[in-house]
Symmetry: C2
Subunit: 254 residues, 2 copies
Protein backbone atom coordinates (compact mmCIF):
# COMPACT_ATOMS: atom_id res chain seq x y z
CA UNK A 1 0.00 0.00 0.00
CA UNK A 2 1.45 3.34 -1.06
CA UNK A 3 0.26 6.20 1.13
CA UNK A 4 0.30 9.72 -0.23
CA UNK A 5 -0.52 13.11 1.20
CA UNK A 6 -1.60 15.76 -1.22
CA UNK A 7 -0.72 19.40 -0.66
CA UNK A 8 -3.12 21.81 -2.33
CA UNK A 9 -6.85 21.74 -2.97
CA UNK A 10 -7.15 22.95 -6.59
CA UNK A 11 -8.30 21.17 -9.74
CA UNK A 12 -5.41 18.72 -9.96
CA UNK A 13 -5.76 17.80 -6.29
CA UNK A 14 -9.47 17.15 -6.86
CA UNK A 15 -8.88 14.86 -9.86
CA UNK A 16 -5.95 13.10 -8.19
CA UNK A 17 -8.05 12.25 -5.14
CA UNK A 18 -10.83 10.91 -7.38
CA UNK A 19 -8.39 8.79 -9.31
CA UNK A 20 -6.62 7.43 -6.22
CA UNK A 21 -9.96 6.50 -4.66
CA UNK A 22 -10.60 4.22 -7.66
CA UNK A 23 -7.10 2.69 -7.77
CA UNK A 24 -5.91 -0.30 -5.78
CA UNK A 25 -2.90 -0.43 -3.48
CA UNK A 26 -2.78 3.31 -2.96
CA UNK A 27 -4.51 5.65 -0.55
CA UNK A 28 -4.67 9.30 0.43
CA UNK A 29 -3.54 9.79 4.01
CA UNK A 30 -4.23 13.48 4.17
CA UNK A 31 -5.06 16.55 2.08
CA UNK A 32 -3.04 19.51 3.28
CA UNK A 33 -3.88 23.17 2.57
CA UNK A 34 -1.40 24.99 0.37
CA UNK A 35 -1.48 27.80 2.92
CA UNK A 36 0.41 25.66 5.42
CA UNK A 37 3.14 27.67 7.19
CA UNK A 38 5.06 25.03 9.18
CA UNK A 39 5.46 21.28 9.27
CA UNK A 40 3.95 21.21 12.76
CA UNK A 41 0.61 22.26 11.33
CA UNK A 42 0.29 18.95 9.51
CA UNK A 43 -2.19 17.00 11.52
CA UNK A 44 -0.77 13.63 10.54
CA UNK A 45 -3.24 10.95 11.61
CA UNK A 46 -2.15 8.85 14.58
CA UNK A 47 -1.89 5.09 14.81
CA UNK A 48 -1.28 2.70 17.74
CA UNK A 49 2.28 1.34 17.89
CA UNK A 50 2.77 -1.11 20.82
CA UNK A 51 0.29 0.89 22.88
CA UNK A 52 1.86 4.22 21.97
CA UNK A 53 0.12 6.80 19.77
CA UNK A 54 2.35 7.65 16.83
CA UNK A 55 1.87 10.00 13.92
CA UNK A 56 1.45 8.31 10.60
CA UNK A 57 3.30 9.79 7.62
CA UNK A 58 2.85 9.12 3.93
CA UNK A 59 5.37 7.55 1.53
CA UNK A 60 5.09 10.52 -0.79
CA UNK A 61 4.03 14.13 -0.47
CA UNK A 62 2.54 15.36 -3.74
CA UNK A 63 2.59 19.13 -4.07
CA UNK A 64 -0.20 20.35 -6.36
CA UNK A 65 0.39 24.00 -5.53
CA UNK A 66 0.95 26.68 -8.19
CA UNK A 67 4.37 27.05 -9.80
CA UNK A 68 5.39 30.11 -7.83
CA UNK A 69 4.38 28.50 -4.52
CA UNK A 70 6.51 25.36 -5.01
CA UNK A 71 9.72 26.84 -3.58
CA UNK A 72 8.14 28.26 -0.42
CA UNK A 73 5.74 25.38 0.30
CA UNK A 74 8.42 22.72 -0.24
CA UNK A 75 10.68 24.50 2.29
CA UNK A 76 8.24 23.34 4.97
CA UNK A 77 8.98 19.71 4.12
CA UNK A 78 12.75 20.17 4.46
CA UNK A 79 13.02 17.89 7.47
CA UNK A 80 10.85 15.02 6.28
CA UNK A 81 12.51 11.79 5.24
CA UNK A 82 9.70 11.08 2.77
CA UNK A 83 9.75 11.64 -0.95
CA UNK A 84 8.42 15.07 -1.97
CA UNK A 85 7.34 15.62 -5.58
CA UNK A 86 5.91 18.60 -7.37
CA UNK A 87 3.50 18.40 -10.32
CA UNK A 88 4.62 21.27 -12.54
CA UNK A 89 5.66 21.08 -16.18
CA UNK A 90 7.99 24.05 -16.11
CA UNK A 91 9.60 24.07 -12.64
CA UNK A 92 12.96 22.20 -12.42
CA UNK A 93 13.19 19.31 -9.97
CA UNK A 94 16.11 21.12 -8.32
CA UNK A 95 13.93 24.00 -7.24
CA UNK A 96 12.89 21.69 -4.39
CA UNK A 97 15.15 22.07 -1.29
CA UNK A 98 18.45 20.26 -1.65
CA UNK A 99 18.00 18.52 1.75
CA UNK A 100 15.03 16.42 0.68
CA UNK A 101 14.36 13.30 -1.36
CA UNK A 102 12.82 14.91 -4.39
CA UNK A 103 11.04 14.15 -7.61
CA UNK A 104 8.49 15.31 -10.16
CA UNK A 105 5.10 13.84 -11.01
CA UNK A 106 3.80 15.87 -13.98
CA UNK A 107 0.42 14.90 -15.44
CA UNK A 108 0.33 16.19 -19.02
CA UNK A 109 -3.31 17.20 -19.06
CA UNK A 110 -5.56 20.19 -18.41
CA UNK A 111 -7.87 19.86 -15.41
CA UNK A 112 -10.98 21.77 -14.50
CA UNK A 113 -13.53 20.89 -11.87
CA UNK A 114 -16.40 20.85 -14.37
CA UNK A 115 -14.99 18.15 -16.65
CA UNK A 116 -14.27 14.50 -15.92
CA UNK A 117 -10.83 13.24 -16.88
CA UNK A 118 -9.91 9.58 -17.30
CA UNK A 119 -6.66 9.54 -15.35
CA UNK A 120 -5.79 6.12 -16.85
CA UNK A 121 -5.17 7.94 -20.15
CA UNK A 122 -3.22 10.87 -18.72
CA UNK A 123 0.51 10.73 -19.56
CA UNK A 124 2.42 10.92 -16.25
CA UNK A 125 5.95 12.27 -16.61
CA UNK A 126 8.11 11.25 -13.68
CA UNK A 127 11.58 12.21 -12.51
CA UNK A 128 13.52 11.50 -9.29
CA UNK A 129 17.05 12.04 -7.99
CA UNK A 130 17.82 8.39 -7.33
CA UNK A 131 16.70 5.03 -8.67
CA UNK A 132 14.94 3.93 -5.51
CA UNK A 133 12.68 6.98 -5.48
CA UNK A 134 12.13 6.71 -9.22
CA UNK A 135 11.03 3.13 -8.65
CA UNK A 136 8.58 4.19 -5.92
CA UNK A 137 7.24 7.01 -8.08
CA UNK A 138 6.82 4.69 -11.04
CA UNK A 139 4.92 2.21 -8.87
CA UNK A 140 2.58 4.99 -7.78
CA UNK A 141 2.17 6.37 -11.29
CA UNK A 142 1.45 2.98 -12.85
CA UNK A 143 -1.38 2.40 -10.42
CA UNK A 144 -3.03 5.56 -11.75
CA UNK A 145 -2.21 5.66 -15.46
CA UNK A 146 -1.40 3.38 -18.38
CA UNK A 147 0.93 6.00 -19.76
CA UNK A 148 3.96 6.57 -17.50
CA UNK A 149 7.21 7.98 -18.88
CA UNK A 150 10.47 9.12 -17.30
CA UNK A 151 11.24 12.67 -18.45
CA UNK A 152 14.17 14.84 -17.33
CA UNK A 153 13.76 18.45 -16.18
CA UNK A 154 15.18 19.70 -19.52
CA UNK A 155 12.85 17.60 -21.66
CA UNK A 156 9.90 18.37 -19.41
CA UNK A 157 10.40 22.11 -19.93
CA UNK A 158 10.15 21.58 -23.69
CA UNK A 159 7.20 19.25 -23.36
CA UNK A 160 5.47 21.92 -21.31
CA UNK A 161 6.27 24.43 -24.05
CA UNK A 162 4.69 22.09 -26.61
CA UNK A 163 1.66 21.81 -24.31
CA UNK A 164 1.35 25.62 -24.28
CA UNK A 165 1.12 25.54 -28.09
CA UNK A 166 -1.44 22.74 -28.35
CA UNK A 167 -3.51 23.68 -25.32
CA UNK A 168 -3.24 27.36 -24.29
CA UNK A 169 -2.68 28.80 -27.75
CA UNK A 170 -5.21 26.49 -29.39
CA UNK A 171 -7.81 27.57 -26.85
CA UNK A 172 -7.06 31.19 -27.72
CA UNK A 173 -7.70 30.40 -31.40
CA UNK A 174 -11.07 28.96 -30.28
CA UNK A 175 -11.67 32.26 -28.48
CA UNK A 176 -10.94 34.22 -31.67
CA UNK A 177 -13.35 31.92 -33.54
CA UNK A 178 -15.98 32.54 -30.86
CA UNK A 179 -15.53 36.31 -31.16
CA UNK A 180 -15.92 36.19 -34.95
CA UNK A 181 -19.16 34.19 -34.55
CA UNK A 182 -20.43 36.61 -31.92
CA UNK A 183 -19.77 39.60 -34.20
CA UNK A 184 -21.98 37.88 -36.82
CA UNK A 185 -24.72 36.80 -34.40
CA UNK A 186 -23.88 33.20 -35.18
CA UNK A 187 -23.74 30.60 -32.38
CA UNK A 188 -20.23 29.44 -31.46
CA UNK A 189 -21.67 25.91 -31.23
CA UNK A 190 -21.52 25.87 -35.07
CA UNK A 191 -17.74 25.50 -34.76
CA UNK A 192 -17.87 22.78 -32.10
CA UNK A 193 -18.01 19.69 -34.38
CA UNK A 194 -15.13 21.11 -36.43
CA UNK A 195 -13.03 21.76 -33.32
CA UNK A 196 -13.60 18.25 -31.98
CA UNK A 197 -12.93 16.62 -35.37
CA UNK A 198 -9.71 18.65 -35.83
CA UNK A 199 -8.46 17.25 -32.52
CA UNK A 200 -9.60 13.68 -33.20
CA UNK A 201 -8.05 13.64 -36.66
CA UNK A 202 -4.51 13.49 -35.25
CA UNK A 203 -5.25 10.00 -33.89
CA UNK A 204 -5.14 8.75 -37.49
CA UNK A 205 -3.08 11.36 -39.30
CA UNK A 206 0.02 13.30 -38.30
CA UNK A 207 -0.62 17.08 -38.11
CA UNK A 208 1.71 17.41 -41.08
CA UNK A 209 -0.60 15.19 -43.16
CA UNK A 210 -3.81 16.61 -41.70
CA UNK A 211 -3.08 20.23 -42.66
CA UNK A 212 -5.59 21.84 -45.04
CA UNK A 213 -6.72 25.41 -45.75
CA UNK A 214 -5.78 28.46 -47.80
CA UNK A 215 -2.18 28.70 -46.50
CA UNK A 216 -1.58 24.99 -47.07
CA UNK A 217 -2.62 25.23 -50.73
CA UNK A 218 -0.98 28.63 -51.11
CA UNK A 219 -4.35 30.19 -52.02
CA UNK A 220 -3.29 33.84 -51.88
CA UNK A 221 -6.67 35.19 -53.02
CA UNK A 222 -8.48 33.69 -50.02
CA UNK A 223 -5.68 34.76 -47.66
CA UNK A 224 -5.98 38.32 -48.95
CA UNK A 225 -9.76 38.41 -48.58
CA UNK A 226 -9.51 37.00 -45.04
CA UNK A 227 -6.97 39.68 -44.15
CA UNK A 228 -9.47 42.27 -45.36
CA UNK A 229 -12.26 40.82 -43.24
CA UNK A 230 -10.12 41.04 -40.10
CA UNK A 231 -10.29 44.49 -38.59
CA UNK A 232 -8.41 43.95 -35.35
CA UNK A 233 -4.66 44.41 -35.82
CA UNK A 234 -3.70 41.61 -33.40
CA UNK A 235 -5.87 39.11 -35.23
CA UNK A 236 -4.41 40.27 -38.54
CA UNK A 237 -0.92 39.66 -37.13
CA UNK A 238 -1.84 36.19 -35.88
CA UNK A 239 -3.47 35.28 -39.19
CA UNK A 240 -0.52 36.50 -41.19
CA UNK A 241 2.10 34.92 -38.93
CA UNK A 242 0.44 31.49 -38.84
CA UNK A 243 -0.23 31.53 -42.59
CA UNK A 244 3.39 32.40 -43.24
CA UNK A 245 4.55 29.58 -41.00
CA UNK A 246 2.24 27.04 -42.72
CA UNK A 247 3.38 28.14 -46.18
CA UNK A 248 6.99 27.83 -45.07
CA UNK A 249 6.43 24.35 -43.62
CA UNK A 250 5.01 23.04 -46.89
CA UNK A 251 7.24 25.04 -49.15
CA UNK A 252 10.13 23.40 -47.34
CA UNK A 253 8.81 19.89 -46.99
CA UNK A 254 6.86 19.12 -50.15
Amino acid sequence: MIKVSIVGTGNLSHHLIQSISKAEGIGVLEVISSRIRSFKEILAPTRQDHGVQKHEFPDIYILTVSDDAIASVSEIFKKTKRLVVHTSGSVPMDSLPKEIRKGVFYPLQTFSKKTKVDFKEVPLCIEAENNEDLHLLRKLAEKLSNNVIEVSTEKRARLHLAAVFVNNFTNHLYEIGAEICKDQDLPFSLLEPLIVETANKIKNLSPLEAQTGPARRNDLATIRSHMELLEDSDRKEIYSQLSKSIRKTYGKKL
Copy 2:
Protein backbone atom coordinates in the same frame (compact mmCIF):
# COMPACT_ATOMS: atom_id res chain seq x y z
CA MET B 1 -37.78 11.66 -53.07
CA ILE B 2 -35.08 14.27 -53.66
CA LYS B 3 -32.64 13.25 -56.35
CA VAL B 4 -29.16 14.77 -56.37
CA SER B 5 -26.20 14.50 -58.67
CA ILE B 6 -22.81 15.15 -57.14
CA VAL B 7 -20.05 16.78 -59.15
CA GLY B 8 -16.57 15.91 -57.90
CA THR B 9 -15.06 12.79 -56.39
CA GLY B 10 -12.98 14.14 -53.49
CA ASN B 11 -13.35 13.72 -49.72
CA LEU B 12 -16.57 15.68 -49.37
CA SER B 13 -18.17 13.81 -52.27
CA HIS B 14 -17.21 10.51 -50.63
CA HIS B 15 -18.72 11.45 -47.26
CA LEU B 16 -21.82 12.96 -48.86
CA ILE B 17 -22.54 9.78 -50.81
CA GLN B 18 -22.12 7.70 -47.65
CA SER B 19 -24.45 9.96 -45.73
CA ILE B 20 -27.11 10.05 -48.48
CA SER B 21 -27.06 6.26 -48.75
CA LYS B 22 -28.08 6.09 -45.07
CA ALA B 23 -30.75 8.82 -45.27
CA GLU B 24 -34.37 8.32 -46.31
CA GLY B 25 -36.20 10.16 -49.07
CA ILE B 26 -33.05 11.16 -50.89
CA GLY B 27 -30.89 9.42 -53.45
CA VAL B 28 -27.82 9.98 -55.61
CA LEU B 29 -28.69 9.87 -59.30
CA GLU B 30 -25.17 10.26 -60.58
CA VAL B 31 -21.61 11.12 -59.56
CA ILE B 32 -20.03 13.35 -62.18
CA SER B 33 -16.30 13.90 -62.63
CA SER B 34 -15.06 17.41 -61.91
CA ARG B 35 -13.14 17.22 -65.18
CA ILE B 36 -16.40 17.43 -67.12
CA ARG B 37 -16.08 19.81 -70.10
CA SER B 38 -19.66 20.07 -71.44
CA PHE B 39 -23.19 19.33 -70.29
CA LYS B 40 -23.52 16.73 -73.04
CA GLU B 41 -20.95 14.55 -71.31
CA ILE B 42 -23.33 13.98 -68.43
CA LEU B 43 -24.63 10.49 -68.96
CA ALA B 44 -27.93 11.12 -67.21
CA PRO B 45 -29.61 7.79 -66.67
CA THR B 46 -32.64 7.12 -68.87
CA ARG B 47 -36.15 6.21 -67.84
CA GLN B 48 -39.20 5.03 -69.80
CA ASP B 49 -41.81 7.75 -70.34
CA HIS B 50 -44.88 6.44 -72.26
CA GLY B 51 -42.64 4.10 -74.20
CA VAL B 52 -40.04 6.79 -74.92
CA GLN B 53 -36.54 6.75 -73.37
CA LYS B 54 -35.96 10.00 -71.56
CA HIS B 55 -32.95 11.26 -69.64
CA GLU B 56 -33.51 11.58 -65.95
CA PHE B 57 -32.16 14.69 -64.24
CA PRO B 58 -31.70 15.41 -60.55
CA ASP B 59 -33.48 18.04 -58.44
CA ILE B 60 -30.15 19.45 -57.31
CA TYR B 61 -26.61 19.43 -58.63
CA ILE B 62 -24.15 19.60 -55.74
CA LEU B 63 -20.71 20.85 -56.79
CA THR B 64 -18.01 19.52 -54.46
CA VAL B 65 -15.18 20.79 -56.65
CA SER B 66 -12.35 22.98 -55.32
CA ASP B 67 -12.93 26.72 -54.84
CA ASP B 68 -11.07 27.80 -57.96
CA ALA B 69 -12.95 25.28 -60.13
CA ILE B 70 -16.43 26.45 -59.10
CA ALA B 71 -16.69 29.24 -61.70
CA SER B 72 -15.60 27.12 -64.67
CA VAL B 73 -17.43 23.91 -63.71
CA SER B 74 -20.69 25.72 -62.96
CA GLU B 75 -20.58 27.35 -66.42
CA ILE B 76 -21.35 23.89 -67.82
CA PHE B 77 -24.67 23.83 -65.96
CA LYS B 78 -25.76 27.21 -67.32
CA LYS B 79 -28.63 25.72 -69.30
CA THR B 80 -30.05 23.38 -66.69
CA LYS B 81 -33.33 24.30 -65.03
CA ARG B 82 -32.30 22.46 -61.87
CA LEU B 83 -30.90 23.99 -58.71
CA VAL B 84 -27.09 24.15 -58.68
CA VAL B 85 -25.28 24.61 -55.34
CA HIS B 86 -21.63 24.82 -54.44
CA THR B 87 -20.19 23.66 -51.11
CA SER B 88 -17.51 26.25 -50.40
CA GLY B 89 -17.17 28.42 -47.30
CA SER B 90 -15.43 31.31 -48.97
CA VAL B 91 -16.90 31.52 -52.50
CA PRO B 92 -19.88 33.91 -52.86
CA MET B 93 -23.16 32.44 -54.12
CA ASP B 94 -23.06 34.97 -56.94
CA SER B 95 -19.94 33.46 -58.41
CA LEU B 96 -22.29 30.87 -59.89
CA PRO B 97 -23.59 31.90 -63.39
CA LYS B 98 -26.37 34.46 -63.23
CA GLU B 99 -28.58 32.37 -65.57
CA ILE B 100 -29.04 29.49 -63.14
CA ARG B 101 -31.07 28.71 -60.05
CA LYS B 102 -28.29 28.88 -57.52
CA GLY B 103 -27.51 28.20 -53.89
CA VAL B 104 -24.88 27.17 -51.38
CA PHE B 105 -24.68 24.02 -49.28
CA TYR B 106 -21.67 24.49 -46.99
CA PRO B 107 -20.88 21.72 -44.51
CA LEU B 108 -18.82 23.26 -41.70
CA GLN B 109 -16.51 20.31 -41.13
CA THR B 110 -13.16 18.93 -42.22
CA PHE B 111 -13.32 15.73 -44.26
CA SER B 112 -10.64 13.17 -44.99
CA LYS B 113 -11.09 9.72 -46.45
CA LYS B 114 -9.42 8.04 -43.46
CA THR B 115 -11.80 9.33 -40.80
CA LYS B 116 -15.50 8.68 -40.33
CA VAL B 117 -17.72 11.71 -39.86
CA ASP B 118 -21.21 11.62 -38.41
CA PHE B 119 -22.98 13.83 -40.95
CA LYS B 120 -25.98 14.17 -38.61
CA GLU B 121 -23.79 16.41 -36.42
CA VAL B 122 -22.28 18.48 -39.22
CA PRO B 123 -23.63 22.06 -39.34
CA LEU B 124 -25.00 22.64 -42.85
CA CYS B 125 -25.05 26.30 -43.86
CA ILE B 126 -27.50 26.90 -46.67
CA GLU B 127 -28.25 29.85 -48.92
CA ALA B 128 -30.40 30.25 -52.06
CA GLU B 129 -31.59 33.09 -54.27
CA ASN B 130 -35.29 32.50 -53.76
CA ASN B 131 -37.54 31.01 -51.11
CA GLU B 132 -38.63 28.02 -53.14
CA ASP B 133 -35.05 26.86 -53.69
CA LEU B 134 -34.17 27.62 -50.10
CA HIS B 135 -37.07 25.41 -49.08
CA LEU B 136 -35.86 22.57 -51.31
CA LEU B 137 -32.31 22.95 -50.03
CA ARG B 138 -33.50 22.95 -46.44
CA LYS B 139 -35.51 19.78 -47.07
CA LEU B 140 -32.41 18.12 -48.46
CA ALA B 141 -30.14 19.38 -45.66
CA GLU B 142 -32.52 18.32 -42.90
CA LYS B 143 -32.55 14.76 -44.19
CA LEU B 144 -28.78 14.67 -43.71
CA SER B 145 -28.10 16.73 -40.58
CA ASN B 146 -29.74 17.83 -37.34
CA ASN B 147 -27.95 21.14 -37.58
CA VAL B 148 -29.15 23.22 -40.56
CA ILE B 149 -28.80 27.00 -40.61
CA GLU B 150 -29.41 29.67 -43.23
CA VAL B 151 -26.26 31.78 -43.64
CA SER B 152 -25.73 34.61 -46.14
CA THR B 153 -22.63 34.88 -48.33
CA GLU B 154 -21.25 37.68 -46.11
CA LYS B 155 -21.70 35.74 -42.87
CA ARG B 156 -20.45 32.55 -44.46
CA ALA B 157 -17.18 34.25 -45.43
CA ARG B 158 -16.64 35.20 -41.79
CA LEU B 159 -17.67 31.78 -40.54
CA HIS B 160 -15.13 30.28 -42.91
CA LEU B 161 -12.53 32.67 -41.53
CA ALA B 162 -13.39 31.50 -38.00
CA ALA B 163 -13.04 27.92 -39.25
CA VAL B 164 -9.54 28.71 -40.52
CA PHE B 165 -8.59 29.83 -37.01
CA VAL B 166 -10.05 26.84 -35.14
CA ASN B 167 -9.15 24.19 -37.72
CA ASN B 168 -6.23 25.11 -40.02
CA PHE B 169 -4.32 27.25 -37.53
CA THR B 170 -5.00 24.90 -34.63
CA ASN B 171 -3.68 22.01 -36.67
CA HIS B 172 -0.53 24.02 -37.34
CA LEU B 173 -0.07 24.51 -33.57
CA TYR B 174 -0.34 20.71 -33.25
CA GLU B 175 2.37 20.48 -35.89
CA ILE B 176 4.63 22.80 -33.88
CA GLY B 177 3.96 20.66 -30.78
CA ALA B 178 4.85 17.56 -32.79
CA GLU B 179 8.13 19.14 -33.95
CA ILE B 180 9.10 20.09 -30.40
CA CYS B 181 8.45 16.51 -29.26
CA LYS B 182 10.45 15.12 -32.16
CA ASP B 183 13.41 17.37 -31.32
CA GLN B 184 13.38 15.84 -27.82
CA ASP B 185 12.87 12.23 -28.95
CA LEU B 186 9.54 12.22 -27.17
CA PRO B 187 6.48 10.62 -28.81
CA PHE B 188 3.87 13.09 -30.10
CA SER B 189 1.22 10.73 -28.71
CA LEU B 190 2.07 12.19 -25.27
CA LEU B 191 0.22 15.35 -26.34
CA GLU B 192 -2.82 13.52 -27.75
CA PRO B 193 -4.95 13.32 -24.58
CA LEU B 194 -4.29 17.02 -23.93
CA ILE B 195 -5.26 17.97 -27.48
CA VAL B 196 -8.50 16.00 -27.31
CA GLU B 197 -9.39 17.33 -23.86
CA THR B 198 -8.69 20.94 -24.93
CA ALA B 199 -11.23 20.48 -27.73
CA ASN B 200 -13.82 18.68 -25.59
CA LYS B 201 -13.59 21.27 -22.83
CA ILE B 202 -15.42 23.88 -24.91
CA LYS B 203 -18.57 21.75 -24.74
CA ASN B 204 -18.86 22.76 -21.08
CA LEU B 205 -16.88 25.99 -20.86
CA SER B 206 -16.56 28.96 -23.20
CA PRO B 207 -13.00 29.39 -24.55
CA LEU B 208 -12.88 32.61 -22.54
CA GLU B 209 -13.47 30.65 -19.31
CA ALA B 210 -11.33 27.69 -20.35
CA GLN B 211 -8.14 29.70 -20.95
CA THR B 212 -5.17 28.76 -18.75
CA GLY B 213 -1.39 29.02 -19.09
CA PRO B 214 1.47 31.47 -18.54
CA ALA B 215 0.01 34.28 -20.67
CA ARG B 216 -3.40 33.95 -19.00
CA ARG B 217 -1.90 34.40 -15.54
CA ASN B 218 0.62 36.96 -16.79
CA ASP B 219 3.51 34.72 -15.69
CA LEU B 220 6.32 36.65 -17.37
CA ALA B 221 9.10 34.43 -15.99
CA THR B 222 7.72 31.33 -17.73
CA ILE B 223 7.02 33.28 -20.93
CA ARG B 224 10.63 34.49 -20.93
CA SER B 225 12.06 31.03 -20.38
CA HIS B 226 9.83 29.60 -23.15
CA MET B 227 11.04 32.30 -25.52
CA GLU B 228 14.60 31.26 -24.72
CA LEU B 229 13.85 27.60 -25.43
CA LEU B 230 12.46 28.47 -28.88
CA GLU B 231 15.23 28.78 -31.40
CA ASP B 232 13.23 29.14 -34.61
CA SER B 233 12.34 32.78 -35.25
CA ASP B 234 8.87 31.99 -36.70
CA ARG B 235 7.92 29.99 -33.63
CA LYS B 236 9.21 32.79 -31.40
CA GLU B 237 6.99 35.23 -33.31
CA ILE B 238 3.94 32.96 -33.00
CA TYR B 239 4.56 32.43 -29.29
CA SER B 240 5.02 36.11 -28.64
CA GLN B 241 2.05 37.19 -30.76
CA LEU B 242 -0.41 34.71 -29.23
CA SER B 243 0.81 35.44 -25.70
CA LYS B 244 0.38 39.16 -26.29
CA SER B 245 -3.14 38.59 -27.61
CA ILE B 246 -4.09 36.42 -24.60
CA ARG B 247 -2.71 38.97 -22.15
CA LYS B 248 -4.64 41.71 -23.93
CA THR B 249 -7.87 39.70 -23.86
CA TYR B 250 -7.69 39.21 -20.09
CA GLY B 251 -6.20 42.59 -19.30
CA LYS B 252 -9.22 44.05 -21.04
CA LYS B 253 -11.92 41.75 -19.77
CA LEU B 254 -11.06 41.01 -16.16
